[in-house]
C-alpha cells in the first residue's frame, strides 16, 4: 500500500533532466573528486629537487605516501558511496530545509567578510598594524550593520589603540609597522600613544 503511495507521489514529480542529473552528480562528487585529484597530483610535488638519499629502511617519502594513498582510497570510496546514495534516493524529493538554510545564510555577506580578511592580510605587512587594524574594524563593523559614524570611528580607533597597548605595549610583540612612509607613520603614532 505504502509502496503504491510512494510510486504515485514519485510519478507526480517531474523526472530530472540530464543536465539536472549531471549537476547533482557533480555537486556530490566535487569535494571527494577534488581530494582524489590532489592526492594523485601531490606526490610529484613532494620534494623540490630529486631525492638523493639512500635510506636504510623507509625514506622521507614513506610517511606522506601512506596517507596520500589512503586519501586516494577513501576519496574513491566516498565517490562510490555518494553515487550509490544518489542512485538509492533518486526517486525521493530533495529536502527543503537545505533551501531554507541557504536562504537564511547570507553568502554575499560571508563573501564580503572573506574579501575583507584577505584585504587585511595584504594590508598588514604593507601599511602596518595601526592603519590596517583601524580600517579592518571600521569595515567589519560597517559590514555587520553598524551605521552610526561616531560609533564606527570610536570603536575602530579606541579598539586599535587598546590592541596596540595590549600587544605592543604590554606583551612587547613586534607587530608589523609597514614599509616606507607607513613605517615612519607607525613609529610616529607609537610615540604619540607612548608605546615607544
Amino acid at each position: 500500500m505504502s509502496q503504491g503511495r510512494i510510486e504515485t507521489g514519485a510519478a507526480n514529480e517531474r523526472a530530472p533532466t540530464l543536465s539536472q542529473l549531471m549537476l547533482s552528480i557533480i555537486s556530490r562528487v566535487a569535494l571527494p573528486g577534488g581530494f582524489l585529484a590532489a592526492a594523485l597530483i601531490l606526490p610529484s610535488y613532494m620534494f623540490d629537487r630529486p631525492l638523493r638519499i639512500r635510506a636504510r629502511g623507509l625514506g622521507p617519502d614513506a610517511w606522506p605516501s601512506v596517507f596520500l594513498n589512503a586519501i586516494v582510497a577513501i576519496s574513491l570510496f566516498w565517490i562510490i558511496a555518494e553515487l550509490w546514495a544518489l542512485y538509492a534516493s533518486h526517486k525521493r524529493k530533495r529536502t527543503s530545509p537545505i533551501q531554507q538554510e541557504i536562504e537564511a545564510y547570507n553568502y554575499s555577506k560571508a563573501a564580503a567578510g572573506i574579501c575583507l580578511l584577505l584585504a587585511f592580510g595584504w594590508l598588514l605587512p604593507n601599511v602596518g598594524f595601526p592603519i590596517s587594524a583601524t580600517l579592518f574594524i571600521f569595515c567589519w563593523c560597517f559590514l555587520g550593520g553598524i551605521r552610526n559614524p561616531v560609533a564606527l570611528i570610536l570603536v575602530s580607533f579606541v579598539g586599535m589603540i587598546t590592541l596596540l597597548w595590549v600587544f605592543m605595549g604590554l606583551a612587547l610583540m613586534p607587530l608589523s609597522r609597514g614599509t616606507g612612509v607607513f613605517d615612519d607613520f607607525t613609529v610616529w603614532f607609537l610615540r604619540l600613544v607612548r608605546i615607544y
Binding site: D48, L51, A55, W63, W78, Y105, L118, G144
Partner: protein
Amino acid sequence: MSTFELLGMGFQNAFALSALLTIVIGLMLGVIAGALPGVSFVNAMAMALPFTYSMAPTQAMLFLGAIYVGGVFGGSISAIIINVPGTPASLPACWDGYPMTQRGEVRRALAVAILASAIGGLTSALVLSFAAAPFAVFALRFSQPEFFAATVLGLISVIAISKDRPIVSLLSLFLGILIGTVGVDPQYGVARFTFGAPAMQSGINFVVVMIGLFAISEVIDLIATNRDLRPSKAASARGQVSLRDFWEVRGAIARGSGIGSILGVIPGAGATPGAVIAYGIEKQVSRDGDKFGTGIMAGLAAPEAAKNATTGSAMVPLLTLGIPGSAATAIMLAAMMLHGVNPGPLLFLNDPTMVYTIFAAMILANILMIFAGIGVAQFFSTLMKTPPAVLGAFIILLSIVGAYGVRNNIFDVYVCLFFGLVGWVMKRTGFPTAPLVLGVILGPLAERYFMTSLANYNQDWTVFFTRPISGTILSLAAVFAIWSLWPVIRAQYRSVVLLLAGRAGS
C-alpha cells in the same frame, strides 16, 4: 614526597597572589568566552596563547587551565538564558535548562548548573591529582613503540568524535596528518611539500591552523547569519533557590561526575560526548525520565557535572603521555611546547612542583568557578548587547595577532587566514574540522615515533605488536575503532539489505 605533600606544595604556589590572580582572570575570561555563542573557550584559549609568552610556564598553564575550566561551564549560561549553547557540550543544558528559564526559574537553573559543574570539575581535578602520578610511573616503561601505539589510539579516537560520518572524519584526519608533513622531515632533514617557498620549510604550526579553523571560520559565520544574541524578556531573573534543590539532584551530579571523569581520560571523548551520554543515562535512571526535556533539574545537573568532569581527567593523557585528547588540551600542549616544557612521564620526575601546582590550581579553579559563574551570569545580559559585528572584528584581530605571535612571522598570518577560509568551507559543507586538527597535532608525533622505533629495532615491523604494552594499546585501538564503527556498519548493512529487498519485492 607523598601525593598529599606535593599537593600541599602545589596549593602553596597556587595561593600566591600572582597565581591566584591568573586563575581568577582566566576563569572570568573562560566563562565569558564560553557564554558568548561564536566565541567558545577553545577560541579564547587560542587567542590567549600570545599573552602567555611573557608568563612563566606554570603561570601560562594556570591561565589556560582556568580558561578551560571556566569556558566549559560558560557555554551553559547562554544555553540556559537564551537557548543558544555557547559550546557544543552545553547543548543538553538547552533541553532542560531553557524550559526552566521559560517557567521563570532562571536563577534556579543557573544555580543547579553552576553547582553541578563545580562538583563535576572538582571530582575530576581530584582524579587528576591522584591518578596522574601512578599513571605517569607506569608510562615510564614506555619506549618509542609504546608512544607510537598511544598516538595511534589518540588518532583512532577521531572515529568516536564523529561516528556518524567515519569516512569523512578519516579523510579529514589524513589531510591533517598530511599537512603535518609539510616542512623539513624529522629523520633525513629533507624538505617536503614546500613548493619552493623557504617559509614553508619550518612547517605549518598547529596553533596557527587551530586559530584559523576555529576562530576565523566562526566569525565569518557570525556575520553571515546575523545572529541576535540578546536574551528574551522571559529570561528575567526570578525563582527561588533552596538547598533542597541541590539535595534532590545529588544522585544526578554523582553519576554525571563519574561518567565525565572516566570519559575525559579517553582521547577524543571530551566534554560533548560526556554531557550527552550523561544526559542519556540520567534519563534512563531517573524516575522523571519521561519528563526530561520539560525542565527537570536532574536532566540539567547530570550533563553539567559530566562536561566539567572531563576537564581534569582530559589532562591525564596530556600530562602523562603528551597526547592531547581534545582541541583545548592541544592548545595547552602548544603552550607547554612554546615554553620548552615537554609533557610526559619524565615531567613528573623533573618538575613535580609545576605538575602539582597545576593540579592544585585545577581544584582551586573549580571552587572559584562558582563565584565566576555567578558574576558572569549577572552581567551576561549586558555583554550580549554588544553587537556581533564588534565582537567579530576583535575576535579576528586577536586571532591574527595570536597567529603572528607564535613565531613573529607574517607567513603564519597567511596560513591562519588560509585555514580560516578552509574552516569556513568545511563548516558549510559539514566536513569535520576536529579530526584535521588532531591529525596536524598528532601526525608529526606519530611519524617521529614510528620512524625512530623502526630505526631502533632494525626496521622490524613486528616490534609494535610483540612488545606487550604496545601490542595491548594497538589491540585496544582496534577494538575501539570497531566498537565506534559498529553502529554505522550495522546501519549501512541494514539500508543495503532493505534497498535490495525493496527492489526484489517490486
